[in-house]
């Protein structure tokens, strides 16, 4: 973890780390941490994005596979999602609310956050990556448990359609971060048991990407 931060930021980071270490980050993530840090978040020391805006759980229809649900919009025009905490969406007759989440570890865990086990479901994590300059050849490493799909600045760049356990950095691709705000929509469907995902941004050499900031609203 870098300590070359402004005093205020390092204080917030310390608070997150502390809360994480005592296991209450997930409980407080959506309210305390995110509310205070929404505009000044960073990736963690290894480059993992821990701060997301979450919408879940979305029940997948009986008879439809998670893979099919992954490849089909669960809410209209999911590639273009630009949510913030508190936004409400009606899905399958049920109203869901976007909420801020800070992962306790380098991966996010829907079930842990929701405090319930959810099978045959879909969920979204959205984050906003601020970059000062156009940055090509950024390595994006991702993992999902089970299926995962990623839209980067509205472009469908990734889909993994089979069930699997979480394997950090399971797949790696490359993206170009544009100057300004970059939007990442990470959709994860879950067949049974654990429902998780992880993403980090690195340089070509594998070093965590610096000089980027995370936001939780567009």
């Amino acid at each position: 973890m870098s300590y070359a931060m402004t005093p205020v930021l390092s204080q917030i980071t310390f608070m997150k780390t502390f809360l994480t270490s005592i296991g209450v980050a997930a409980l407080l993530g959506s309210s305390l941490i995110s509310a205070t840090a929404a505009d000044s978040l960073r990736t963690d020391a290894e480059g993992y994005i821990r701060d997301w805006v979450m919408l879940a759980p979305i029940a997948i229809r009986d008879g439809e596979t998670c893979a099919d649900a992954l490849l089909k919009d669960q809410i209209p025009n999911e590639a273009a999602l630009r949510p913030k905490a508190g936004d409400k969406v009606k899905v399958g007759g049920k109203e869901l609310t976007w909420r801020n989440v800070t992962a306790a570890t380098n991966y996010f865990d829907f079930n842990e956050t929701l405090k319930s086990i959810n099978d045959h479901v879909a969920g979204y994590m959205v984050t906003y990556v601020e970059c000062d300059v156009d940055t090509p050849d950024v390595v994006m490493a991702v993992a999902s448990n089970d299926q995962g799909r990623i839209y980067f600045n509205g472009v469908d760049i990734y889909a993994f359609t089979e069930p699997r356990p979480l394997m950090l950095d399971a797949d790696k691709g490359k993206v170009t971060l544009k100057k300004g705000t970059n939007v990442i929509v990470f959709k994860v469907t879950n067949e049974q048991n654990s429902w998780q995902g992880a993403m980090r941004l690195m340089t070509k050499s594998g070093a965590p990407l610096k000089n980027i900031r995370i936001k939780l609203q567009p």
């Binding site: 008879g63 439809e64 760049i157 889909a159 993994f160 359609t161 089979e162 069930p163 699997r164 790696k172």
Partner: protein, 919 residues
């Protein structure tokens, strides 16, 4: 109405007045005939079974008897033969359109011949045979104008034409047969009959056989029955020729927790005194759960049961399994009639099976896998599993013809399909689902082109996928084929008149069966109480199929053939599950079927007065009267040379058994004889099995393999191609022959499919590009599909038909498809302007009450949202049109549906009960 209340039959002669035999009264008359036998029964002693056998020469679709509806209305409209009308009184019609090989020895089995074709089409020589038949006192009835009369008239003509003795014997036989008694019980009435079919009382095997037709030159012989065997579902024979039977007591609701004992078993059934009946029954293994099939391997058996495959072996010789080892976990149990089943040995020394929509989901060899609805193969130790050929729906059939080509059947509407492209290679290249494979992390997809680490500058950032053609891994050979039942009381839930519970796909390759049946496939159909014959013939780079009639059909509504295969004696062995209720799902409701039921565990419906049988089950043999038995009786403790000789057996069972023994026991001593057999000039199936035996024992050398690739027998060349390893040595051997230009197009297709497996190198890319310049490779659909896949795999542009051009939908074409497509068969279930079936929603006004996205989804994925009023179905009976139709055809149907903008006058979109056509 009681069974005795409507007798209108002259109890002395069983002659019914012609006037009574108009079609409008057919149902009533039939009812009389069946129930009237109750009275006659008292008059007769136990006369021998003596049906009347009639040979029908001509097209079944011709003649005045053709009808537009069926018994109970349009939902029971089958291919028109007199089976439903006359078979119930044991007047059995055998159908031939081919008259070239009529012989005295064949005709001797018939009482009458009905010729519905001009004499000129018969030919002078065959006419002479028929004249001889008539001179012998048999009946010859001619309708040379091709116009067949109504069934009642036909019946009278037959009874007038046959000998007096035949008639009196038949009458005595009928009189000795008990009637089909009816009992209380809730029976779903999806057919919307005015008077629902009533629950029939079961018959003993002896009397069930008297209601069951087999070809006139065959005998139906009972091998085993309850209580010795109960609910048999599958069987296989060991090298001693003993029948091993899987008993399925747990089906359908009996799924138990993992590790808990079930109630299914494997029973060895032996005929120790040679009288044709099993007299010794040994339980090899019990406490199995939802067992569906078994296969012999490595000195034991593998059983498909809930969740996994189970290896069972008897190591101490007491006839009972003392080794139980579960392998390949991950088979779904969500629906207990969609599990893995139909295990068998492939020519290629893999084990094969079929799985329905309960799917497989698990990890094999460190690789996550998920698939369903098709044929798969696996290694006996569970180290490898490959999904081979997908069709749709519930796949219950797997079979190999004498060349080792892979076929299957799927329950609903597609009783035969041919697998020609490997799904596990094809699937990652498919549009949409194409991203499900080929990426990192275990084959489930990954970053798209333009976002991959190894992308080069200029790679397309996002490849369009919408117009990429969806390639099939299997082709349905007889979509929409109709059935020929022998009962008017067929109870179905959908695809009325067509196959809806097709199971099995065994080929008749037997030296104990007549030439006319060789190479044809058997598909059982328990809802229609029959075993259909698929006449499968080469067609370019693949196969086509036509209706081959029945091998067996019953009027006993309990008879439920679910397995048919050639046994050690060369006869066809049949499992009769013997259950009046055979339907698994959907769950009937008052609205859909007049009966309210609930969905039980495993997805099968259940009613309060549960009519699902748990105590019956029979095994029959269908034996050719005029033929020999297969000469081999046993291959136990046989020397290698004799096993090699058995590879040439006329009975495919013994060929595969001999190969299995050579491979499982690693009989390398047999290698010289095997090589000699492969290299012999005669080719044939002995060479094919010798080739695979060598492969199985690791003794297939380059020279022998090359000789097979250059064999004069295209089927040997085909198997030699299949046996090539997907490495450099294999590639070199491949190109040492000319199989890519093989004159036998099926072999050529197999060769092109093999090319898919080799790693991409420039030389192969050149070959692929060149192949596209050969016209037949483009014009033949099997070759074109393969070429298209080659282009995708080896990244060669503009070969095959990779991109499909879909123009704006044509409503006129769409209407034609809606009304007439035998595959989509829309109008058989949906009504428009008051015409069509009443299975699904009325579609008048669909364009204004649903948006295009909904309609499209309904066509492509009928289960996505069940239409209002049909929610209780649980699963849509409609096939996904994306699998069945070309993209343009789907667009055309969509365009037609978009014209349906006038809602029904009464606003009702759920069809109401319709009037019986015969009322």
């Amino acid at each position: 109405m009681g069974p005795r209340a409507c007798i209108r039959v002259d109890s002395c002669s069983l002659v019914v007045t012609n006037a009574a035999y108009c079609m409008n009264n057919t149902k009533q008359i039939l009812s009389s005939l069946i129930t009237g036998l109750v009275a006659l029964n008292a008059l007769a002693a136990d006369a021998p079974n003596r049906p009347l056998q009639v040979l029908y020469l001509g097209e079944t679709s011709m003649g005045g008897g053709a009808r537009s509806g069926g018994f109970g209305g349009g939902r029971t409209n089958y291919v028109y033969l007199p089976g439903q009308t006359l078979a119930p009184e044991a007047i059995y019609f055998n159908h031939r359109t081919d008259v070239a090989n009529l012989t005295d020895s064949y005709l001797k089995h018939f009482d009458a011949v009905v010729q519905v074709m001009p004499d000129a089409d018969i030919g002078a020589a065959q006419q002479k045979v028929l004249d001889g038949f008539k001179s012998a006192g048999k009946g010859l009835i001619k309708y040379p104008d091709g116009q067949r009369p109504a069934d009642g008239v036909l019946r009278e003509a037959v009874l007038r034409a046959i000998s007096k003795k035949a008639k009196s014997d038949w009458e005595a036989s009928l009189a000795a047969r008990p009637s089909l008694a009816r009992l209380p019980g809730e029976v779903p009435n999806y057919e919307r009959r005015a008077e629902p079919v009533k629950y029939q009382a079961p018959l003993s095997p002896k009397y069930s056989m008297r209601y069951t037709q087999v070809p006139a030159d065959f005998d139906l012989q009972l091998f085993a029955a309850e209580p010795d065997i109960v609910k048999p579902i599958y069987m296989a024979w060991d090298e001693l020729g003993r029948a091993w039977v899987v008993e399925a007591r747990d089906y359908p609701h009996g799924l138990v927790a993992e590790g808990e004992p079930g109630h299914d078993s494997i029973k060895i059934c032996e005929d120790t005194d040679g009288d044709g009946r099993a007299d010794k029954f040994t339980v090899f293994a019990d406490k199995l759960n939802l067992a569906t099939s078994m296969v012999f391997v490595n000195g034991g058996i593998l059983v498909s049961e809930a969740r996994h495959m189970l290896f069972l072996k008897d190591t101490d010789g007491d006839g009972k399994a003392d080794v139980r080892q579960a392998i390949l976990p991950g088979w779904g149990t969500g629906d207990t009639h969609a599990q893995q089943s139909n295990l068998g040995r492939g020519f290629d020394n893999w084990l094969y099976g079929a799985v329905g929509y309960s799917n497989f989901r698990g990890t094999v060899g460190g690789k996550d896998m998920q698939f369903g609805q098709g044929v798969f193969r696996f290694k006996a130790d569970g180290s490898a599993l490959e999904f081979l050929h997908q069709y749709n729906n519930n796949t219950w059939g797997f079979g190999l013809n004498e060349h080792g080509d892979v076929f299957g059947s799927t329950a609903n509407g597609h009783p035969t399909f041919y697998g020609y492209l490997p799904a596990h290679i094809l699937t990652p290249t498919q549009p949409g689902s194409g991203r499900r494979g080929g990426g990192g992390g275990g084959g489930g997809g990954g970053f798209r082109p333009g976002f991959r680490l190894d992308d080069k500058p200029g790679d397309a950032p996002v490849a369009p996928t919408v117009n990429v053609r969806r390639l099939p891994s299997a082709k349905s050979l007889a979509p929409g084929m109709r059935m020929h039942p022998n009962t008017p009381n067929v109870r179905m839930v959908d695809n009325f008149g067509g196959y809806t519970a097709a199971a099995g796909h065994a080929f008749m390759v037997s030296d104990a069966l007549p030439p006319r049946l060789q190479g044809k496939a058997l598909v059982t159909e328990p809802t229609a109480k029959l075993i259909g014959i698929m006449d499968i013939q080469p067609d370019g780079g693949g196969y086509k199929a036509s209706d081959g009639g029945n091998l067996l059909a019953s009027t006993d509504e309990w008879m439920s053939p679910i397995f048919a295969d050639v046994g050690p004696d060369g006869a066809v062995w049949v499992i009769d599950f013997y259950s009046f209720i055979i339907q698994h799902n959907p769950t009937p409701s008052v609205q859909s079927a007049g009966v309210q039921a609930t969905t039980g565990r495993g997805g099968a419906y259940q009613t309060e007065n549960n009519l699902r049988d748990k105590t019956h089950g029979r095994i029959y043999r269908v034996v050719w009267k005029d033929g020999p038995r297969s000469p081999i009786k046993s291959l136990a403790k046989t020397k290698p040379a004799e096993l090699v000789a058995a590879l040439d057996s006329g009975n495919q069972f013994w060929c595969l058994t001999a190969q299995g023994l050579i491979v499982d026991n690693k009989l390398t001593d047999a290698a010289p004889a095997l090589k000699k057999r492969v290299r012999s000039a005669i080719g044939g199936k002995g060479a094919i099995h010798a080739l695979w035996s060598l492969e199985g024992i690791g003794a297939l050398d380059k020279e022998t393999h090359q000789a097979a690739l250059l064999s004069k027998d295209p089927a040997v060349r085909r198997n030699a191609v299949r046996a090539l390893p997907a490495n450099e040595a294999g590639r070199q051997l491949f190109f040492s022959s000319s199989v890519v230009q093989d004159p036998d197009l099926i072999t050529r297709q197999v060769a092109l499919a093999k090319l898919v497996e080799f790693p991409t190198i420039p030389a192969i890319q050149t070959v692929v590009a060149q192949l596209s310049r050969v016209p037949v490779n483009n014009s033949d659909s099997f070759l074109n599909d393969t070429l298209t896949l080659l282009g995708r795999i080896h990244k060669v542009a503009n070969v095959g038909e990779n991109v499909v051009t879909v123009t704006a939908g044509d409503a006129k074409r769409g209407e034609d498809l809606f009304l007439n497509s035998p595959v989509a068969a829309c109008a058989s279930c949906h009504m428009v302007n008051g015409k069509g079936g009443d299975v699904g929603p009325i579609l008048d006004g669909i364009a204004v009450r649903a948006d295009k996205a909904y309609i499209t989804e309904s066509l492509m994925d009928p289960n996505a949202k069940l239409a209002k009023g049909f929610e209780n179905l649980g699963i849509s009976p409609m096939p996904p049109l994306g699998v069945l139709l070309k993209e343009q055809e789907t667009a055309d149907i969509l365009a037609y549906l978009d014209t349906l903008r006038t809602p029904p006058k009464d606003g009702v979109t759920v069809p109401v009960k319709r009037a019986n056509h015969y009322e």
